[in-house]
Amino acid sequence: MQVRRLAAWAALPLAVTLGLTACGKSGGSDTGSTNPNGVVSVGIAEPKHLIPTNTAETSGSQVLAALFAPLVDFDEANKPYEVAAQEISTTDNKTWTIKLKDGWTFHNGEPVTADNYINAWNYGAYAPNAQDNNYFFDKIEGYAALNPADATTTPAASTLSGLKKVDDKTFTVTLNAPFSEFKSLLGYTAFYPLPKAAFTDVAASPLVLNKDFEQAPVGNGPFKIKGAWNHDSGIEVEKYDAFAGTKPSIGGANFKIYQNDAAEYADLQANNLDVIKQIPTDSLPTVQGDLGDRYQTSPASTLQVLAFPTFDPRFSKAEVRKAISMAIDREEIVNKVFQGSQRAAYSFVSPVVAGYRDKTCGAACEFNPTEAKKQYEAAGGPKSLNITYNADGGHQAWVDATCNQLKTNLGVDCVGTPEPKFADLLTKAKAKKDVGMFRMGWVMDYPSMENYLGPLYSTNGSSNYYGYSNPTFDNLLKEGSAAATQDEAIKKYQAAEDLLAQDLPVLPLRFGQNSFGHSTKVKDVSIDLFNRVDLNKIQYVG
């Protein structure tokens, strides 16, 4: 019969599917001793670039951290210690002498010399190269000559006058002004050296980078690249045997490039991936059940704040800002909206930097609705409020929750106002248009209190969008940068932070948290200050 035959055809694919079910493999893993040749897979997104001075996002810097070794790294107390550098010294915080360790080589065999650092930094600081990390060099003398105010003109110089070679292993860095935290700055991605092979001609001025260098970067780090960067697919690295520093305890790493984090998480659950750096927000409610003790958290450097346009007469009184702050229940929002994936913030600097103190914001950040309402009315706060946020970052939920708290606790109207992108919000705030209160986020550039204060609140700060200006604050920062020791600097910065608690140009809301997970095949997984998996500590047991 015709019909029966057709039915049989239709049934065939079903039977095949069922047959496949039967031969699905059963994966089992035995946890044995550590394997020094094991290869760990780490999930990342497609990096934008793999050039140290042009890599500002975490996926690229994760790969570069494997390929390069920094001058300094950070210890448990988040203080810098020398890695590729033998010694970093200064007498006046203005001229720094950097002496390199002997015996270090690039993966192509070239010895690491002072020139490698000077060339890489000159390349990064030269404006026409349009490097993302260009601004990291702005403290070095001669930066202005490489970065003219009129962007269309050719810069007057192509090398930083502040960089001077002493001998093959030593060079000095002269800064524009004393900066006591310069050593911490050197731990960032932007300050890696580049081998001669990176440039078309090392004698040329300005330097020109080999076009295909970033497809297979040659570094001075614990791992060397295996093959090349497979775009949107992966990057493999293997142990560099001639590495002169502390060797890692794994044989290599496979950075798998994912198009989105949900797929990355699915692969981790299927044990196809060893480390995920950030559990997707949607999966946080179930992550404990999915991973058990393979789910971990650690403090991250991000800080979320609610900012005030202090130039706006409605918010010019500190009392008004304080009353609003006291009307916000930070714990409730962290627990209800963020499922505990972030932490309530009561300070202006992150716990990941040396000098952090808990609750520097004091009474102003403590939830106290009755006192808040009394003070708000006494100070004559505005009857209606709005909070501007960027619609593409998942901020609507907490902005609405905050508004609801303000409505209930202060008896005012409050609405969230979305802007398409964060950039649109910042453009409006910079132009002093009416944005009301607005959200701000900060990711640390270098682990120092200064980085949470200078750019954000000093009068000429690059990210001061609130029109905040306090000469005492500016002076304290200057004194901190000129301080003889790091401890003295921290004292000045802490005094500056105390001023913020009085003036409240912004309200600290939440600290970020790394929520990461790993497979059964690895142990000792940790995330460093820059949101990278620490490949020097991780162990392979699979």
């Binding site: 269309t152 950039a423 910042l426």
Partner: protein, 309 residues
Amino acid sequence: MFRYIVRRLLQMILVFIGTTFIVFTLMFAGGEGDPIQNLAGERPVSAIQRAQLEQQFHFNDPFLTRYWHYLTDLLNLDLGTSLTGRPVWDLITERFPTTLMLASIAILVTIVFGITAGVIAGIRRGGIFDNITLVVTLIIIGIPTVVLAPIGQLLFGIKWPIFPATANNPATWYELLLPGIILGMLSVATAMRLTRASVSENLRADFVRTARSKGIPRRRVIGVHVLRNSLIPIVTFIGVELGSLMGGAIITERIFNITGIGNLLYKSLSLGDAPVVVGTVSVLVVVFLIANLIVDLLYAVLDPRIRYE
């Protein structure tokens, strides 16, 4: 026939210029905010860096000049470079085979299940099979991809790992099987309903009665006379479906981490990477137009009464 094809090709040029112009306008003439800031994320962009990038991507030229440059480059198959500095042409050609593989699995699933079930249901209209398939397909069509795909992944990729949970780049057929089946299921219902209606209508047509009365075996009546005449609406549907699948199944590709056109479009749109969006859409327009032309030509093969002038 030849004149028809030439006329269609000429029409395609007009459609192509029109669509690229609209997309180009939408992407570049504001609305997408500030592409340079988007690229930098939440960090400030220095004035110098901004000027360098603006120069590099000609953001300051008048709009029509830029569109003219774009069109002339396009004729040389130069789609420009993305904001991250990769040639757009490479980005597309790298991903196209994967999307093509995924689309063919999906279409195959649609054809095998949809047409088979449709024919059976059409012959036995109102029977048990007809009713059951109607309910089942309606349930599947009622579940959106955002639900169906993650459930499929969880069940068959993680709980019972029959299929890989995600795809690598380049993807293998095996990795694309599960997402392909899920994608195909969504159009099974439509294909089945179309076939069923068309078959049951043709069964009552004069030429079928004539064929039967001539004593032709039932198998041949259904297989040749009914099926062939019933395929026109399905071919139309599948042609359009194939065209849109080429555009990439954004949701499915994202869930299964498939490095295809859909993912490329999604990523570039969220980054505001206009050169990639415009380039990809231009290529997709051509693909879609060609797919439609082929469908139209297939009509004549299926039904000799159709003539092209």
